[in-house]
């Protein structure tokens, strides 16, 4: 039986060779992008629905990795799928971060639906945000109930170690506490805080004409948030309003959301896509999306 030391060697090689393969894929696509695009546009007889699909041609790996072995194997497949998502999005997103045109939103929405398997839209029930593509900043933890503090906030010491440093926001979220009392805190409440985003609800078209209706709509509304640079996607909920327009940011993410998306504040600030999830029966769970 291979010992722990040998497994270490396996992990080393698996990571190194997976990274190398990703680099090859990126290089091939960048060098020969025109040919791949042409092929996608002219291969109606093939079941290749996207530019990313054609990338499968350069990778026989997807159906060849043993299913049973390890999380590393699953990770490799996830990475490959994310590579496709990144390429597809890169093909339709503008070079600068700005509000997308209706056509661009439609293209992005189609790509996302194809990749995540559920319906995501830029406009839901006649309501939309000021943008679907914006700069995301770092938010703090929100108080879930009266008396919630840094000592009561975390499920485990691991979580505390990882997320303590972000601190607790001094005020409440835009919709108040998630529950009235600590004893009534449900898993849904916990997840709603853990995976929350703050969006500029107050800049939504039509907001000023019917504030209550809009606030009811936005409260804990589920959104798919995607980092287009690494293909990581998470189902988040709106639990706060902000940031102020003068910050230059369009939305904010909880420590858990930012950590998963690998987005940072400050000099490394970056953009995300955020689209409403059409989930009338509330069947899509909050948290990271496995592509």
């Amino acid at each position: 039986m291979p010992g722990k030391k040998d497994n270490y060697r396996y992990q080393f090689l698996a990571k190194k060779w997976t990274d190398r393969h990703r680099e090859f894929q990126s290089k091939i696509f960048a060098k020969h992008e025109d040919s791949f695009k042409w092929f996608t546009d002219n291969s109606k007889q093939l079941v290749i629905g996207s530019l990313a699909g054609i990338m499968l041609l350069t990778s026989p790996i997807l159906d060849k990795i043993p299913q049973s072995i390890s999380s590393v194997s699953a990770q490799v497949k996830t990475i490959d799928k994310r590579v496709f998502l990144i390429y597809d999005l890169r093909n339709v997103l503008p070079n600068e971060v700005r509000s997308l045109t209706p056509e661009e939103e439609k293209n992005v929405s189609e790509i996302l639906v194809r990749n995540v398997g559920f319906n995501v839209v830029s406009e839901l029930d006649g309501k939309r945000l000021n943008t679907t593509y914006g700069i995301i900043g770092q938010e703090q933890h929100l108080s879930r109930f009266s008396g919630d503090n840094m000592f009561t906030h975390f499920d485990s010491s691991d979580q505390a170690d990882k997320y303590w440093s972000y601190g607790m926001a001094p005020g409440l979220g835009a919709f108040g506490y998630f529950t009235d009392l600590s004893g009534t805190l449900t898993q849904q409440d916990i997840d709603r805080e853990k995976y929350y985003i703050a969006v500029q609800t107050f800049l939504a078209p039509g907001y000023d004409n019917n504030t209550k209706d809009y606030n009811d709509f936005f409260k804990y509304r589920k959104m798919l948030v995607i980092n287009p640079q690494n293909g990581k996607a998470i189902v988040a909920d709106i639990a706060d309003a902000g940031p102020s327009p003068w910050t230059g940011k369009q939305l904010g993410g909880s420590p858990e959301v930012m950590n998963y998306l690998e987005r940072f504040d400050g000099s490394q600030i970056g953009a995300v896509l955020y689209f409403f999830i059409d989930d009338p029966n509330d069947t899509i769970p909050l948290g990271p999306v496995n592509l």
Binding site: T58, P60, K64
Partner: protein, 110 residues
């Protein structure tokens, strides 16, 4: 190679497999690493070939590749690329050297 592609007859990975034997791996781990070796070889061969083709020939090549007709693919490539086999072998040998070096590097891991 376990899977057949238009270049499979040119590729031999027994030497890497033997090096991998020095690392004590489970069967699943070996299978996974072997699939990664093949995936990397596939990518570098595709890149080598595409880099030698004109825009129109790239399109023909991609069509042939998708059709899985290895003979037709090879015939087309041989008619367009001089010393095709040597070029593919050279690219793959360079890659294999890097992969063997990676395997040797695992011995430095504590």
């Amino acid at each position: 190679m376990k899977n057949k592609f238009f270049y499979s007859h040119l590729i031999e990975i027994t030497d890497i497999s033997l090096k991998l034997k020095d690392v004590n791996l489970s069967d699943d781990e070996k299978a996974h690493l072997t699939s990664l070796i093949e995936a990397n070889i596939h990518s570098i061969v595709i890149d080598t070939v595409l880099s030698e083709l004109s825009s129109d020939d790239k399109k023909t090549f991609l069509k042939n590749l998708v059709s899985d007709n290895h003979e037709k693919t090879l015939e087309h490539l041989n008619s367009r690329i001089g010393k095709l086999e040597d070029k593919i072998k050279k690219s793959v040998e360079d890659l294999k050297s890097d992969l063997v070096k990676d395997i040797l590097d695992t011995k430095k891991l504590s």
